[in-house]
Amino acid sequence: MNRLSWFNTVSLTLGMAFLYLPMVILVVYSFNASKLVTVWAGFSTQWYGELLRNEAFLDAALVTAQVGLISSTIATVLGTMAAYALVRLGRFPGRTLFSGMIYAPLVMPEVITGLSLLLLFIGLNMDRGVLTIVLAHTTFSMCYVSVVVSSRLVSFDKSVEEAALDLGATPWQTFRLVTLPIIAPAVISGWLLAFTLSLDDLVIASFTAGPSATTLPMKIFSAVRLGVSPEINALSTLMIAVVAVGVITASLITKRSALRQQREEREAARAEAQATTPFA
């Protein structure tokens, strides 16, 4: 099947239009001089200027970046440990409960996670702020990290690790020199996933943030609730641009490394063929 039938062409075109048109409209109207969505009053970058002068947004962006960087890093470490424990360490007491706690947060509605963490922080008499949001985000995103990492751990050959241990490497050396490089792509995509989840989260942050800390989604939500505001269009456009650049760069890097790996494998195969048939 090499060419698309008209039906398939139409459904792909409509599907992509449905997915992308709303975002394109958002981007276009962020450059609109008028405050109204229906009126095009000429090209202008005034909303970007107003956004950059709005300190509340800048502060919120700073808090969001801080929370995202810290929580996704801790979540990556914890999630990788959890994945390693589940896939490589076999049976240990309480394993069922442990794997249950890894998968449960993935399906738990955000309102419940947020509510339960808030009640915990109140019970512990903790001041709510950046720290409590970090703790909350780390908890739910470590589960996503461990799912991503464990799928990579399951698919790779355990005998490579065993060989390293047989050759005298300590378990830690084996992990650092053999396991980690092999699972690195999954660890990196786990970190990216945790980071995006943290940047995106409104509900859990609203429950766990005190009056002292506001994240960008919380700020956007309260602005949007009052109606459509052109400043938010500008902010959305900036966020879409950041994601697009990030994803395209990441895909170029993986594509290049895949090509390099293919070339190396081909060369290795050729070298092997020459070595085994020296007289050919």
Binding site: M1, N2, R3, F7, N8, S11, L12, G15, M16, L19, P22, M23, I25, L26, L36, V37, T38, L78, G79, M81, A85, L89, F92, F98, M101, A104, V107, P109, E110, V111, I112, L115, S116, L119, L120, I122, G123, L135, A136, T138, T139, M142, W172, T196, L199, D200, L202, V203, F207, P217, I220, F221, V228, I232, N233, S236, M239, I240, V243, V247
Partner: protein, 296 residues
């Protein structure tokens, strides 16, 4: 020793920040309204040993749950969440299946790019994707302007702040979760089976219904659960696109908590929401397990 550390750190983290908080919700949902006002201190008196634990248990009562059954609002909200989630899942399937099907029929060298295009919106902010529809669906929004210009309608329609807007929002934001699993099963589908059906006298459409759809069932089921389960507890979409009459349990819980400050009732709402979710989650896991067995 090292083994112990690798297990213990994430284990303790999840116990402290996932299981314990959840038990607190359960506890508060079962506690007396008067006792459950902040700061919630008389919880468990650990120093009193068994007597303390006994006192703690004797404080439990089902008052909050009884309250939930007495007020129409709550069970209506649960039913309406289930209805909205069900219909929205169905609509997502109707929109998503043709896209997944077309992707699986596209030339091989296009497929990675198409897949990327489907995943890309997932990486952009959920909140912003919902917000984008507010400008499109409002009274003076682009959709109305377009329809007026076409002459299909003579007066702007009210779409924003109705259930229809909620459906559009859910279909839009959850579409990738439907497309990807269906695409995964359709891509693996053996083309020769369809050819065989056609050789045996099936028309193209009949072959589609008799061969392609049944064989893509695991993907359809997985996609439906991936949309249905998170939609039930959805908060952002109903509160931005829905109206005051849109009842969804996630929104009720939020309002109960932030506006009414009634924590025990909010906790009870959360516990029942989880009970409702357990059935679809178990069904989903069974389906996944069956898939794994069929593959392995």
């Amino acid at each position: 020793m090292r083994r112990l550390i690798v297990v213990a750190i994430p284990y303790l983290w999840l116990l402290a920040l996932f299981l314990v908080p959840f038990l607190i919700v359960l506890k508060i949902s079962l506690s007396d309204v008067a006792l459950a006002r902040p700061p919630y201190l008389p919880q468990i008196d650990w120093s009193a040993g068994w007597q303390g634990f006994h006192d703690f248990l004797s404080q439990l009562d089902f008052e909050n749950f009884i309250f939930l059954t007495e007020d129409n609002l709550y069970w209506k909200a649960y039913l309406s969440s289930l209805r909205i989630a069900f219909l929205a899942t169905l609509m997502t399937l109707i929109v998503g299946f043709p896209i997944a099907y077309a992707m699986s029929r596209a030339p091989v060298h296009w497929r990675a790019t198409l897949m990327m295009l489907i995943i890309l919106p997932f990486w952009t902010s959920f909140l912003i994707r919902v917000y984008a529809w507010m400008g499109i669906l409002s009274q003076g929004g682009l959709l109305n302007a377009f329809l007026l210009w076409l002459g299909v309608i003579s007066e702007p329609l009210t779409i924003l702040n109705t259930d229809i807007a909620v459906y559009i929002g859910i279909v839009y934001t959850y579409l990738p979760f439907m497309i990807l699993p269906i695409y995964a099963t359709l891509e693996k589908l053996d083309e020769s089976l369809i050819e065989a059906a056609e050789d045996l006298g099936c028309s193209r459409t009949r072959a589609f219904w008799l061969v392609t759809v049944p064989l893509s069932r695991p993907g359809i089921i997985a996609g439906c659960f991936l949309v249905f389960i998170p939609t039930i507890g959805e908060f952002v979409i109903p509160s931005l696109l829905g109206g005051s009459r849109t009842l969804m349990i996630g929104k009720i819980l939020w309002e109960e908590f932030f506006n009414n400050r009634d924590w025990p009732v909010a906790s009870a709402v959360a516990v029942i929401l989880l009970l409702i979710l357990i059935v679809p989650i178990i069904l989903f896991q069974k389906n996944e397990q069956k898939n794994r067995e069929a593959e392995g």
